[in-house]
């Protein structure tokens, strides 16, 4: 019996392909597939949710609405809410809301700088944002933007999209198991969702501008709003456009001018003073 | 374990040139070991750049030596002078702890 020790071919047990090559196409492939799955799921879920009849959505959101209605408001806040509702009614008349849809505006005394549209045609306007707007036109632009969201059924479709995308991403993360790097793949999945969000914001902007132009004859107030919002967002240079939920402030401002040119609206004009009920919310002296 | 230091240990079934006089059954030795948290932190850093976890290697080696030692102690207690057909079984109990089992056939060689 002969005993020998030749060297076997060691390359059968490992791959000689460069690891970065495999990494690149794996990452690209998985990201593309996940993004595509999210985009599809989000699109169909959003469309489906937006087709639920408005009265069903309103019933579903009745609890939210009641919560807002039943809050105790100071007399100051109650006047503000009444002023906002009057303004909203004027705008809604110019916006051709679908049959059976109505919008309810609520006012919140918190310092939050925001206004939002939620399910059931409910819109909430926060004090923090009101304090920073200087004219009725500006307040009207924000209101019209939120009413446009409600008109276009954005809260419902966003909810449907969010649920569908959540399901897809949880399937992906359970598929990847305990490994590291789940986060970049989830990020790739979020990109289509953020794009849908930005598209919705653009659509709402367009409707809002049309309404403001119809009611006030010009879009000067809108330009003020987007300038203020742009300042609030901070330095734009640091932001990556595709990772934002809203279009960049500079883009929205440019869009105002572009739409004004296309639709023949006046870019500037005399702006209305804030109604007294809203003006009295501002602190006595404000350093900009 | 004085008597076990000259017990022959082999994972073959026979010893060349010597005959088995008596088979004394299966003997085993097992141990569960964990290492302390300090080494675990260094291992966590190694997890990023890869490579050998020397602390864990030492842990397993010590555990194995102890398991074999216990097996030999059992063999000595039944009067064997060799343990043949030795095998090992390793189980990971929890993060950072492992059980090693060493077992074999205790025999008396002539």
């Amino acid at each position: 019996m002969r005993l020998e020790n030749p060297r076997p071919d060691e390359t059968v047990n490992y791959s000689t392909e460069h690891p970065l090559k495999e990494f690149a196409w794996l990452l690209a492939g998985v990201s593309a597939v996940v993004a595509a799955a999210v985009a599809l799921a989000g699109y169909f879920a959003g469309e489906l949710a937006a087709r639920v009849p408005f009265r069903v959505e309103k019933e579903y959101a009745a609890g939210i609405a009641r919560q807002w209605e039943e809050r105790q408001l100071t007399p100051e806040a109650a006047h503000a809410r009444a002023a906002l509702r009057a303004l909203a009614a004027k705008l809604a008349a110019a916006m051709a809301l679908p049959e059976g849809m109505d919008v309810t505006v609520h006012y919140d005394d918190a310092k939050t700088v925001n206004a939002m549209a939620t399910l059931g045609g409910n819109v909430v306007f926060y004090r923090g944002l009101l304090e920073r707007l200087a004219s009725e036109d500006a307040v009207a632009t924000v209101l019209a933007h939120e009413i446009a969201h409600a008109k276009l059924r954005h809260p419902a479709s966003a909810l449907g999209r969010g649920v569908a995308v959540g399901v897809v991403l949880s399937v992906v993360s359970s598929g990847m198991g305990r490994s590291v790097g789940g986060d970049p793949v989830q990020l790739a999945g979020m990109l289509p969702l953020l794009k849908y969000n930005r598209d919705q914001e653009r659509a709402a902007d367009e409707e809002a501008l049309a309404a403001v132009a119809a009611v006030y004859g010009h879009v000067g107030g809108a330009r003020e709003v987007f300038t203020v919002l742009g300042k609030l967002g901070g330095d734009e240079a640091a932001r990556v456009g595709i990772l934002q939920t809203h279009p960049l402030g500079s883009e929205r401002l440019a869009r105002v001018d572009e739409l004004a040119r296309l639709r023949g609206w006046a870019r500037e004009g005399p702006v209305r003073e804030l109604p007294p009920a809203l003006a009295q919310l501002k602190p006595a002296k404000r350093a900009e | 374990m004085a008597g076990s230091s000259n017990i022959l240990v082999s994972n073959l079934e026979l010893v060349p040139g010597r005959r088995v006089k008596t088979h004394l059954g299966v003997v085993q030795g097992s141990t569960v070991r964990a290492k302390h948290a300090g080494k675990d932190i260094l291992a966590g850093l190694k997890n990023i750049v890869g490579g050998e976890l020397t602390a864990y290697t030492e842990l397993m080696q010590e555990a194995r030596e102890e398991a074999v030692g216990r097996m030999l102690a059992q063999a000595a207690s039944v009067g064997a002078n060799a343990v043949l057909n030795v095998r090992f079984a390793t189980t990971s109990i929890t993060a950072g702890a492992a059980e090693i089992l060493a077992y074999g056939t205790a025999v008396v060689l002539e």
Binding site: L26, G181 | V49, E52
Partner: protein, 161 residues
């Protein structure tokens, strides 16, 4: 500076990935060089899986020799492996890791035999265990353990051959 805080998670991921790839690859090349060199040096030590010695009648001393190593994968390999679990197929990243670990364990076993003065190892077995703890919080680590029986050279017979 603001950008740093906003995208901190992403930046951290990229840095860890780069570290894992760069240092991990360097370590792997170095380890393979060392393995190949030691395999050449220890080519005189023969290791077989056969259970019967070539000359069963000649008395020879037996001793159990072992070699073990615990390896951990790096961040880059783990990320690529995670993507692989979605797509399926050959995990080249871990194949090279385990190949290295097996050969290292075998070399340590051979070195153990040399320490005992033997150059023939029989009934070689190789076992792998996951010692990192599969649950979260454990470092993913793999132990490879090689063992066999080393036969020392036969004692010189007192009479002439």
């Amino acid at each position: 500076m603001q950008a740093f805080f906003e995208y901190f998670d992403l930046l951290l991921f990229v840095v860890l990935l780069a570290l894992g790839y760069g240092i991990g690859r360097m370590n792997e090349q170095r380890h393979y060089r060392s393995i190949r060199q030691r395999e050449r040096e220890l080519a005189g030590v023969l290791a077989f899986g056969i259970r019967f010695p070539p000359d069963p009648k000649t008395p020879r001393d037996c001793v159990l020799v072992t070699g073990s190593v615990v390896v951990s994968s790096d961040y880059f390999k783990q990320f690529v492996a995670g993507l692989r679990t979605l797509i399926g197929g050959r995990m080249a990243a871990y194949e090279s890791l385990l190949d290295r670990a097996r050969r290292e364990a075998m070399l340590r076993m051979k070195a153990d035999a040399v320490r005992h003065g033997a150059s023939l190892i029989l009934n070689v077995k190789v076992e792998s265990t996951n010692v990192g703890g599969g649950m979260r919080g454990g470092v993913p680590a793999m132990e490879v353990f090689a063992y066999g029986t080393a036969l020392k050279p036969p004692r010189e017979a007192p009479r002439a051959a």
